[in-house]
Every structure is written in structure tokens, then in C-alpha cells.
Amino acid sequence: MNPLLTINSLKKQYDEETVALNGVSFSVHEGEFVSIIGPSGAGKSTLLRCINRIIDATEGEILFDGLNVGNQNKGQLRKLRTKIGMIFQHYNLVNRLSVIENVLHGRLGYKNTFNGSLGLFTAQEKKQAFQIIEILGLEKQAYKRCDQLSGGQKQRVGIARALIQEPRMMLCDEPIASLDPNASKIIMDHLKNITTQMGITCLVNLHQVNVALKYSDRIIGIKHGLKVYDGPPKSITKNQIYDIYESEAGELILELKDQNEA
């Protein structure tokens, strides 16, 4: 089976000094749940943003579903982006609009300029939005303005906005970094369900190693713009994690199973 996403020696240089990615390669198969871990400034966010071309890579190749992301023209890129949902640490919702309106933003990529600008969505799209809202347990909040929601609720709106795109892959940039443990668990469970039940591939940047180990099918470790680990969570060792975060043993709070001790 061909991988859904293939990244070949991806490089990103912001300016003369900052090389955020320095030749990263890996591929992701349909239905995988992959976590990316690494210290602050390693280049995790940069990597995700290159995949849907929110920023342009300097060098290297990204293939999504057989299409070369770098070669798409404006219209093709919009179409491709509808197939890739994205959720963010700070949710990035339009606070003054209601939940349902924010969710429907996920359909903008499918609409022409006029209908999209005026927010003229079809009855079918609205129905779908309400279904997704219900799945995520937000039906009571549907008409509330987003600035009246809690962090966990906002992130669920973010997920709903991504889901209504009918994506094949989700890019999640630290989805639980601003949430309390309870809300974090709800969000991670939703993301996991999305992968197992809807077959949507998830690529998640995480700072919580424990969470990454618990939920992922695969872990990718990034450090200084380079991939330093790629494998299942079962086989990662404490020392490898310490190496990724460049910290002394014992400085990190980890719960690894005994078999992983090296």
C-alpha cells in the first residue's frame, strides 16, 4: 500500500541563522496515529506548516496522496488543503462568531468566493455541522459565541471545524498544551477515535511524552531540525527520550514500562 504522506529530505530555512528543518524524511500510512515529540524550537510546528503549505519549504519534497504539494497552483492548493484538517494550541477560532459558524468555516475550501464570503452554506452542510457538533458533545453550545467557551470546548470546535472538511489527515499542533488534564484526555480520546473509527490519519505535535506513548501507533523524535527517532512507542527507551530532550536522566517525569528500560 502506498503511504498517504511522504516527506523527502525536507528543509526549511527562515533566515540566514535559523534553519528550522534540516533534511527530514518519513512517510505516514493511512489510518496511522503518529506523534511528533521534541524540545521547544526543534522544528515541529514548522514541519506541520510545511505539509499544507501554510509556509513554503526551502528544499525537499512532500507527497500527499500521490500529489506533489510544492507543485500545486493556487486553486489546486485550496482543494488539497480541504483534505488536510488542522488544529492548533490556541484553537484559532473567530471569537465573535458562534460555534456553528466557526465549524462551518471548515467548508470554505469547497465554496466559491461569493458564497463563502457571505457565509451561504447549504442545508446539507449545516446538517453535517450539527451532526459533528453532536458527536463532539457541543450541541448545547451550538449558538454560543466562541469567547464564552472553555478551553476544552474551544478545542472541540477546532476539531469539528477540521472534521467538516472531510479530511483524510489531521495535523494537530500541540492540541492539549493549554488544557487541564481532564480536557486533555477528552481531546486526545476524540482524536484517537477519529483515527480508529473514521480512518483519518493523525499527525500530532506533543509535549507530553506520556500522552504520546499512550495514544500513538508511532513516535517521531525531532531535534535541531533533524529526525532522531522513528518507531513504535513500545520500543523507545528512556535514554532515547532523554537524548531527544537533551536532558539528564531523572529530569523528565516519565512512566515507562520496565521492558523499555535499557
Binding site: R81, F88, H105, R107, L108, G116, R161
Partner: protein
């Protein structure tokens, strides 16, 4: 008790020496304060320029005491003896409405153009180059006084309401563009990124994220400009003969030398201006800041 006090004094004295020392050191090394120096220089420069101004003024053999006395008498007549001669109160209200109409239309045209060019001037929605080009254009527009814009356009279309509206549009545009583009820039960059990631295009982002987020600011600023435009419309009406209550004011004073009528018209304008000012400052405290 006494012992305690003397100990206290001893202690105070010992620290005093130290603190005096520290103070001296601090004063010695007190950094050259750029801000307060600039403030002082600015104030001194303004003072000198002001004094010099009075030397250069053209007094035209004026006897100032007499002029002041005259003015005070005139003001008394104007404010306490206000009355209409050449037209009725109804006519006055019609002229005020005319001026309000000019202000309204200029705010509208200025607001619409400021909205679209403001999008190009906002750094988060545009490129640095385009944004700077637009801002440069705006500072030129603002450098030319409103009345000159009116007069320049009056040459090609004649004096009247159309020239007044077009002329007033320029500064409304310049003022609102700055306010609008700053409101647009308040929008978190992440939101734009999120909608881009959904596949939204530029116009969709503008109308689905930028406008809903800044709408109340836009309306508040627009109303504040309407208030300013009323005052400007009065001035332009007088100085460029563009009609409305400003022109009547000009006629009453420069043509008919009727101080009582000047007073009555002034009261009329004052009433409208104060209503507008109160409204706009309420809007300001509610929506801006």
C-alpha cells in the same frame, strides 16, 4: 524604653551613612535620561518658537486693547442677543441637515474606500511593500488641507455639494484607513492561518474572520469620523462656498455683518456638535479600548 530608643538611633545612624553613600553613588552614575532630555528640549524649543512668533506676526497697526474690547462686546451681542434676520429657524434646520448630509456622504465614501484600501494596508492581510505604498499615499492625501481638496475638485466640477463631498472624502479616507487597518491588524494571525488551512481564500478570510472580528470597531470609528466631518463640512461650507449652514454663517458675518445672526447660527451648530460629541464619546468608551 530609653535604651531601646538609643539603640534605634544608633542603628538609624549607621544605616544613614550607608544610604547616603548609596545615594551619592546613584546620583553619580545616574544614567543620562534620553526621554526627559527630549521632553525638555521640545518644551524649550516650543517656548522659543512661540515667543519668536509674536515678533514676526503681522499686526497691521492694530490697537490690541481696543480690538479685545470690541471683540468682547461683539461676543456679548452674539451670544446674548442672538436672533435670526435673513432666514427662519426652519431654514436654519434645513441648512444644518444639508451639512449633516454632506458629512454623512463623505463619511460613507471615505469609509468604503478606507475599508478596501485598509485591507491592503493591514500587514497581516497584505505584503509589506503594498502596505507601505498605501500608507505613503495616505500621508500625501492627509498633507493637503481639506479645503484645498475641495477647491481643487471644484475647478473641474464646480462648487457645490458634489465637490464638498469629494473633498471631504480625502481626509475621511486617510483618517479611517489608519483606524481600520489597525483594527484589522488586531486579528490574531493564527485565525488567518487556521482559515487558510481550511482552504479558504483571501476574500473569504476577510469576510468570515476579519470583518466579524472588527465590525464594532469599524462602526465606532466611522461614527467618530462623522462627528469630525460635520465640523469640517461647516468649515468647508464657509471657506469654499460649498453651501449648508457653514455658508450661511459666512454670509451672515462677511456679507451682512449681522452679529446677532452669527450668534443664532453658532448656537444651532453648537447644539448639533455637542450632541454628536456626546454620542461619539459614549461610543468610544463602549467599543474602543
Amino acid at each position: 524604653m530609653q535604651i531601646q530608643e538609643s539603640i534605634y538611633h544608633l542603628w538609624i545612624n549607621s544605616t544613614k551613612d550607608k544610604s547616603v553613600d548609596l545615594l551619592a553613588k546613584y546620583n553619580e552614575r545616574k544614567p543620562f535620561n534620553k526621554t526627559s532630555f527630549a521632553i525638555k528640549i521640545t518644551l524649550i524649543a516650543l517656548l522659543i518658537l512661540t515667543i519668536y512668533s509674536f515678533y514676526t506676526f503681522d499686526y497691521k497697526n492694530l490697537i490690541i486693547i481696543d480690538a479685545v474690547k470690541d471683540t468682547l462686546i461683539n461676543m456679548r451681542t452674539m451670544f446674548f442677543g442672538a436672533s435670526l434676520r435673513n432666514f427662519t429657524i426652519l431654514e436654519g434646520i434645513r441648512q444644518v441637515s444639508f451639512t449633516l448630509g454632506i458629512a454623512f456622504l463623505a463619511t460613507l465614501t471615505g469609509g468604503i474606500s478606507a475599508f478596501f484600501l485598509g485591507l491592503l494596508a493591514a500587514q497581516n492581510l497584505s505584503t509589506k511593500l503594498v502596505s507601505n505604498v498605501v500608507k505613503g499615499f495616505v500621508s500625501f492625501v492627509r498633507a493637503v488641507p481639506t479645503v484645498l481638496w475641495v477647491l481643487i475638485f471644484a475647478v473641474s466640477i464646480g462648487l457645490g455639494s458634489t465637490a464638498a463631498v469629494v473633498g471631504l472624502t480625502f481626509h475621511s479616507f486617510g483618517y479611517l484607513l489608519k483606524a481600520f487597518s489597525e483594527s484589522f491588524e488586531e486579528l490574531d494571525h493564527g485565525v488567518i492561518e487556521a482559515l487558510t488551512a481550511c482552504g479558504a481564500n483571501w476574500w473569504q478570510i476577510v469576510f468570515q474572520a476579519v470583518v466579524p472580528s472588527s465590525l464594532s470597531y469599524l462602526l465606532a470609528w466611522t461614527f467618530i469620523r462623522f462627528e469630525i466631518n460635520f465640523v469640517e463640512a461647516v468649515a468647508v461650507g464657509a471657506a469654499a462656498g460649498a453651501g449648508g449652514i457653514g455658508f450661511e454663517l459666512f454670509m451672515a458675518s462677511a456679507r451682512y455683518f449681522n452679529i446677532r445672526e452669527v450668534g443664532a447660527i453658532t448656537f444651532l451648530i453648537l447644539a448639533v456638535a455637542i450632541i454628536l460629541e456626546l454620542t461619539s464619546s459614549r461610543i468610544k468608551t463602549k467599543f474602543i479600548k
